[in-house]
Symmetry: C3
Subunit: 304 residues, 3 copies
């Protein structure tokens, strides 16, 4: 295996590939407790023990459905890791007090959101709590107080952020007595801005491992007819054929794993077969030239 | 009152709302010494004790006109605070040696400009001296020497900058034995870039209070027919009606006060009635949802 | 003389003006060993003792041609300074293993590239080794190890980068036990972005001297008919006439020398007469207003 199946995040560890639960309620036939229990079993079987949530997923419904599945599953809590997020406030029947989409990084909201997530997930602790989006009204002292509170209370083991720019990360970090362990950002062969906008350099400098959402750039990688998508499929297929590996999604994930900042892809599929295929990426170490060939297919041009 | 009427800036304090004198000479009927004395009296009566200047305002004339008014006013110097700026070099009959608009952050110019400002304002010290614009030719060692000199001589109590980006601020700060106490930047419901460009995060991280110029975004907020202006007026009126406060300028100022970085709006009006109306903002604490509703009216879209 | 002819770069020094050898093989009549030896002699005579290379110049051929000239020259190694670069991997008959243009900042490549450069240049040490381009796959720990290795082995005296943004510089610097001594970037009267993008502020803050490539912005400054080129020539000629100096290239170089970040222009000409003319820039100290007049000719507008 080219890459370790576990990765450290501060004092805890996650599986190198994480299962993202955000679409759990999109397919109602698979979101009952039995199906979720099978999903958890199946994921663990292929080494995926970390599950990524947010309070808002499925219109504030995914955590609870997943929690029911966890109860049915009945395994030991310390064999899995649960990640969830807070701060986005959606207009939703589940939150009638929200009259406009907004953010809330206040300590009061952080504490309340953690309580709800613990209840929904039927657990005593969250492994990693993330602030979901940078909040232009973040009062860093107050936000840090909320994050400290939930950590000190043992309700959250580690804290991170999502979609933060380096300067937003630095502001919050300046107020915390412990490090932020991750920044969950978008990055894929289709969306390569983090290579140059400072996000990945910041992570590598501070030695935290970024989690990656939309690590395939969405399904259009497989079916889209845009020039970038066509170029990328050709490049990925070319490399897949060199590697005796016929699935281009594994190559696209391996492209992320090759980056030195220790990226943790959050896989959006809920099908064990698809997850198993993508997990073969852990065995694929792309050469530099293969990596740059994919970058060129993404941008349409050679590096400078 | 929702907000304190005073705000700390290093070891001194300003009134939370500052009167900007830049238009003093635009209305010659109000710029005689008697009128200015009345203006100073009236401002102090409503809690505005800090006055923002620059050497160049009114084609290098505002400081002197204001100084004449201060003499007529005759109050105690330590009941008010004077802010002024230097480094912009205008083409002007008052500066025949300037053949092109440029900047000068040399220590020699800083010292000379402070001497002129002291004389113009009929005072022994300036409370806060700001570098007016980032100068691409700033030699940070020499600039810092000039700033130190005027502080050590007791001619300036504190030093800040204006229109600086974070990296420009950091360069100058790296050479100074005391902190820069502010960065005076443009920010308003009409111009929200500082929320994302790092300026306000930088201020919050380093705990300095930014001063805000053009805090209403100019008069077009009230009369403009652009889509943004129309949206903003509707949103501000809606909130004004919720708050039994009929003046939307107070809401627009309250929107700034709500930000956690401790912003200090510099009000451009020279009419006591208008200032009194805007000062009611100190009693208005917008809710998060009201604040985001105004942001949405500014950008035209929900947050992500 | 307005400017010193030597400039410190960490513990070593370079001539303030550097000769860039990248075009050495463009003119085959001048690239034989005798011609190169004459060039080195001539450059030293006018105070230019530092020579800028890269492994890739002249399709991986310039270093070797220059090295032959150095042997013919026969002067003492410690009277000159050699700068070279690595990490760009070109498609080239000289590198058949390269199938796509890419970068390589691995320690293994750094060590191998230094060995080749030493051999090509017939020398025991390189004065300054630069990473040629920021590499999105840079593993800063491994890259730093490679750079440390070649320094500890005495094969390289000092290390820098080229074309790095501040955050890329900071990442690598965070892993090194010695400072990066320079960042070689593009800057000229035609290309002024470094004044505002943070590059020069970063250099001044950390007190390293940037090297400048394309310091004239290419030959089009003299012949181009674009609006910017026409404006710039007029402004440069105007100032040249004020200074009894008829060559505008010297004014364009003097514009760089006037910047407080201690810039080191890399001159691209291989003609001693042209170099001598440009070197007169060391005697030209532009006034602030002259400097801003050239900036205005570059951007087309006054400063704010």
């Amino acid at each position: 295996m080219s890459y370790e199946t576990r990765i450290s995040l501060g004092s805890l560890s996650l599986s190198r590939l994480v299962l993202g639960a955000w679409r759990l309620l999109s397919d109602l036939e698979r979101s009952d407790a039995d199906s979720v229990a099978r999903l958890v079993h199946g994921a663990i079987d292929i080494g995926i023990t970390s599950f990524d949530h947010a309070d808002i997923y499925g219109n504030y419904g995914v955590e609870e459905a997943f929690g029911a599945g966890l109860q049915r599953w009945g395994g030991s809590r310390d064999t899995i890791e649960l990640i969830t997020k807070c701060d986005i406030m959606l207009i939703s029947g589940a939150r009638p007090e929200n009259r406009i989409k907004h953010y809330d990084t206040s300590s009061a909201h952080i504490r309340a959101s953690v309580e709800r997530s613990l209840k929904n997930l039927h657990t005593d602790y969250i492994d990693v709590l993330l602030l979901h989006r940078p909040d232009p009204l973040m009062d860093a002292d107050d936000t840090a107080r909320g994050l400290e509170d939930v950590v000190k209370a043992g309700k959250v083991r580690a804290v991170g952020v999502s979609n933060f720019l380096p300067h937003q990360f630095d502001l919050l970090a300046s107020r915390l007595p412990f490090p932020l362990v991750t920044n969950q950002i978008e990055f894929s062969v289709k969306y390569v801005s983090p290579l140059t906008d400072g996000s990945l350099d910041h992570a590598q400098r501070l030695r935290y491992a970024p989690m990656i959402w939309s690590p395939l750039g969405g399904g259009s990688l497989f079916t889209g007819e845009g020039v970038q998508e066509v170029r990328l499929r050709a490049a990925l297929r070319d490399i897949a054929s060199q590697l005796d590996n016929t699935d281009i999604s594994a190559i696209a994930i391996a492209w992320l794993l090759r980056h030195p900042a220790s990226l943790i892809p959050v896989l959006g599929s809920l099908k064990i077969d698809r997850l198993k295929t993508m997990a073969t990426a852990l065995d694929i170490e792309l050469s530099r030239q293969q990596w740059f060939a994919i970058l060129k297919a993404s941008t349409g041009e050679d590096v400078d």
